[in-house]
Symmetry: C3
Subunit: 104 residues, 3 copies
Amino acid sequence: MQNTETAIRKVVTIVCEGALEATLLREIESLGARGYTVTDARGKGSRGRRDATWGPHANIRVEIVCGAQIARAIIDLLRERYYDNFSMILFTVDAEVLRPEKFD
Amino acid sequence: MQNTETAIRKVVTIVCEGALEATLLREIESLGARGYTVTDARGKGSRGRRDATWGPHANIRVEIVCGAQIARAIIDLLRERYYDNFSMILFTVDAEVLRPEKFD
Amino acid sequence: MQNTETAIRKVVTIVCEGALEATLLREIESLGARGYTVTDARGKGSRGRRDATWGPHANIRVEIVCGAQIARAIIDLLRERYYDNFSMILFTVDAEVLRPEKFD
């Protein structure tokens, strides 16, 4: 029975400069996230309203599937510790996951 | 008229070890999926509750846009044939797609 | 107060051949998008109903977080200028974003 189960969890996606990878992932794990997926990316974005300092090189895209409480903790972490100092974006979607217990 | 059409389809995302790529994609195609997108990824995750065997190397992230029936068939395939034996995650979201007939 | 704010925005994902990158991103920026994320990808898909010309090499996956109006403009751009001539897919999801003003 358990095998047939799906449930809704959060998928949190962060795009930031690659230099943050080790630090950021360690902090996200410490919040209770059970795993993450990282892909190399490039992009462009604005840091605040005026300057475009998010360069074309060496960004990463990090994806974390987790419960709502951990997603909230990740959002708070980024808002309080990273968002003012680094070029990054964060967005969250609800997804149907297979074996939800893997993510709790 | 047809050109202006968008509709809701499923986006199924699978993250697994890269060694599964050829086999998994062949099976997904045989279920009727019209296409897929693969990106190289790295990550960390747990295999079951205790061991963390999902290494930091050579994962892939596979994305399939398809109708609800094929999405369900992919979920069943992974649950029955892969999920107990390999480190992988699967999640599904609803998305508005352009030219939905491309995915049916 | 502003710092605690999240809001719903659109995440537009485009998968297309890599040769389109510079042109497509320039046009998307001209529509008002504030940034984008690009990852290299490979994949398979159909171009129209019969032929499968979306090769296994040199695709890109482009992700744009933006408001609903810009998302609509991007969808219209692709439908009118690209979709008949190139192998590509587009899908859009609603996401909760941190600092929504970054994307407006």
